[in-house]
Amino acid sequence: MTAGVDLGQPQAQAIRSDEDVVRVRQLVRSVAVAVKLSLVDQTKVVTAASELARNTLVYGGGGSVDVTIVDNGRRKGVQIVFADSGPGIPDLDLALTDGYTTGGGLGLGLSGARRLVDEFQIETSAETGTRITVTKWSR
């Protein structure tokens, strides 16, 4: 368990550099362990977080992430919100297509991350930037 992390409160992490993407992974992992996700589910949610944090950095020009423990009465889960004030995603359907990329990557970040989590919401506009909320529930 990460020392000094109060898991009752949402954890925030700025995304401004490569090293911050590593910090996001570590933060998400510590929360995923705290809500007792299985090892495979921990791996999936950390991988999804890594993809989305990198998108926030590369396409959104940096931003922030909030990690919260959520409880729907039956199960606990990890909710992660990625926010940036970048240019937004002009064609969302296209951006969610496997293999589509404008950044020279593999084009699996957004579409792959969506497959790895239980809930995936995206709000994007040229004015307000992009906000992606993902949730992974314990089984």
Partner: protein
């Protein structure tokens, strides 16, 4: 920025990734490995990812790129030690790791490289007309 060490064992370069790599560290490893392959003339590269608890699309692409670069430089790359949860996640993510050879552990990786090397040498020998006359 942290750097991943590259060890030379006989004719093989061994890279054991023990840290949660930033993207920059991953790109640096690609460059370092290409230089070491040329400097040492090694014919095999083993990348041990036992300690990695995730492989995302960036690291996946780095592994594919390393395999391609080494091939051009006459070296065989084998990725070893992938955790089961990582394998499951990679497939769901949609990453196919094209062109990458894998083995369960370092020992099997070394066997794979030795076998690939032996095949190649035999092939070159068959191809060379002088080789026939040179043997009594």
């Amino acid at each position: 920025m942290e750097r991943v060490p590259i060890l030379k064992i006989g004719d093989i370069l061994l890279v054991s990734i023990q840290l949660d790599m930033s993207d920059q560290t991953a790109v640096q490893l690609q460059e370092d490995l290409a230089e070491r392959i040329v400097a040492t003339g090694c014919h095999g590269v083993i990348i041990d990812i036992t300690a990695l608890d995730i492989v995302d699309s960036f690291v996946g692409r780095m592994l594919s790129t390393i395999a391609s670069i080494s091939k051009v430089l006459d070296a065989e790359t084998v990725v070893v030690g992938m955790r089961p949860a990582v394998a499951i996640t990679l497939v769901e993510l949609g990453l196919s790791l094209n062109g990458i050879r894998t083995a369960l552990n370092v020992e099997r990786g070394m066997e794979l490289i030795a076998a690939a090397r032996a095949d190649e040498l035999e092939y070159q020998l068959d191809d060379d007309p002088d080789a026939e006359t040179a043997t009594p």
